[in-house]
Symmetry: C2
Subunit: 260 residues, 2 copies
């Protein structure tokens, strides 16, 4: 199997590296600026680690960058292995971040949210892949396919849009849960009473479109309720504005009968 | 068993009435201004129906109002059965909507989202109940308990806050799914690719708090990504503003280290 080096030891790397290790990939080294992160991940998969760019082994077959979008261009330019395959896992960075630095490069983007203390079922993840040539495309498909059956090609523009949609469907959704938890805590109510409602909200969109699934005061344009709600949000950061904008946007879409 | 009359034949009534009927309640009549709705629901549970307020049977034991918050006060004032038990199912209307019209009254609030073409598992629903006297409290607890083991008392102020939290966790969340579906449709991508991500987002908050579960560019304050995303949202209703407000609110909460 190919010799792989991980650049980065954050949430994505900490799930992806062990999964690839399990799948038989030989992960020889982990690079991270943060020594404890590099060391922990490396130990877990029997790899070496380094915090020095200059100490990255130049003889690997694949360099897999799982780092923040802001760190990626600088690292891509400085890892010196021009004949190896260079892959990143970012939703919003183009394939071309590697252009000029490597012959073969690609993207292995897992559409998933990774948290340190929560195990992930890789076979259920949708992977979106891209490569600059046949070799890169074949190699990245091979790698993704060892983890999941759900692998498809998507270009950088499509992936950027997918990542934006994921921010709405995952990060922003989770933030609405944060807000709900905060409102309930003020009333002395445990957030966990919401879980069956949240489950059903998720369950519904498996058989209905989100448009068909919508319920509540906004879609009914029940100003009687929304005014009461706004009064409860007064003085809480920007929550009144967030409530109004989301309510108006629901109303706008449903009034026009747009069914996206 | 008590004789029950349903006032309303919308989403909530269409799930609740059959469930109570199954549980042995004798639902004798359905009232709705909309004849096809009244007729359909009544047929389903072997009840009579009427669209005329004056024709509501005054001899029932329980009048169960599952109507919009704006219709509720008018109906509560006009159903003439002062000695029966009057119950409503509204999150945001107080118990006192019945005061002056009835001796015994209460609230049976199911914390759930009801859509016409999606079956509901009642035993998993959290019911929040309230009553103006011991008789009402006992009767409403009895009714809720035939449907679910998860029944607790909550006063009108607490219920209003709960309903507000539910709008964030359910209706607004579903709207974020609507937006994600819209963005993906523009890129020719099926919304269903998001389902494993959405499932995991919901799954995570069963073991982590929403605060601990948060990931993505906003919590990392990665302006590099958020700027790219904003460019993609330009000209789409108020989506840029919604994106900015949610991103800033995530950043504000996580920067302050507030863990609600």
């Amino acid at each position: 199997m190919d010799k792989v080096i991980f650049i980065g030891a954050g949430n994505v790397a900490c799930h992806l590296a062990p999964a690839l290790h399990e799948a038989g990939y030989d992960i020889v080294q982990v690079f991270s600026r943060t020594e404890p992160s590099a060391c922990n991940l490396a130990e877990q998969i029997g790899a070496r680690f380094t915090t020095a760019l200059a100490a990255i082994d130049p003889t690997a077959d694949v360099y897999l960058y799982a780092v923040t979008d802001s760190a990626l261009p600088g690292l891509a330019a400085r890892v010196n292995a021009p004949d190896a395959l260079h892959l990143h896992t970012s939703g919003s960075t183009g394939l071309d971040v590697f252009a000029g630095h490597a012959r073969h490069f690609g993207v292995l983007y897992p559409l998933q949210t990774f948290s340190k203390h929560k195990a992930i079922r890789f076979p259920e993840i949708n992977f979106f892949i891209e490569g600059n040539d046949d070799f890169a495309r074949r190699k990245v498909r091979e790698m993704a396919s060892t983890l999941s059956r759900h692998v498809q090609e998507l270009d950088s523009a499509g992936r950027k849009r997918m990542h934006l949609a994921a921010v709405f469907a995952c990060n922003f959704t989770n933030h609405l849960y944060e807000i709900a938890a905060e409102l309930l805590a003020e009333a002395g109510i445990d957030f966990r009473v919401m879980l069956p409602l949240i489950d059903e909200t998720t369950e519904k969109i498996k058989t209905l479109s989100p448009y068909e699934a919508q319920t509540g005061p906004a879609v009914r344009n029940d100003r009687n309720i929304t005014d009461k709600h706004l009064a409860l949000l007064a003085g809480k950061r920007e929550l009144e504005t967030i409530y109004c904008l989301l309510t108006d946007d629901i109303h706008a879409i449903h009034q026009k009968g747009q069914n996206p």
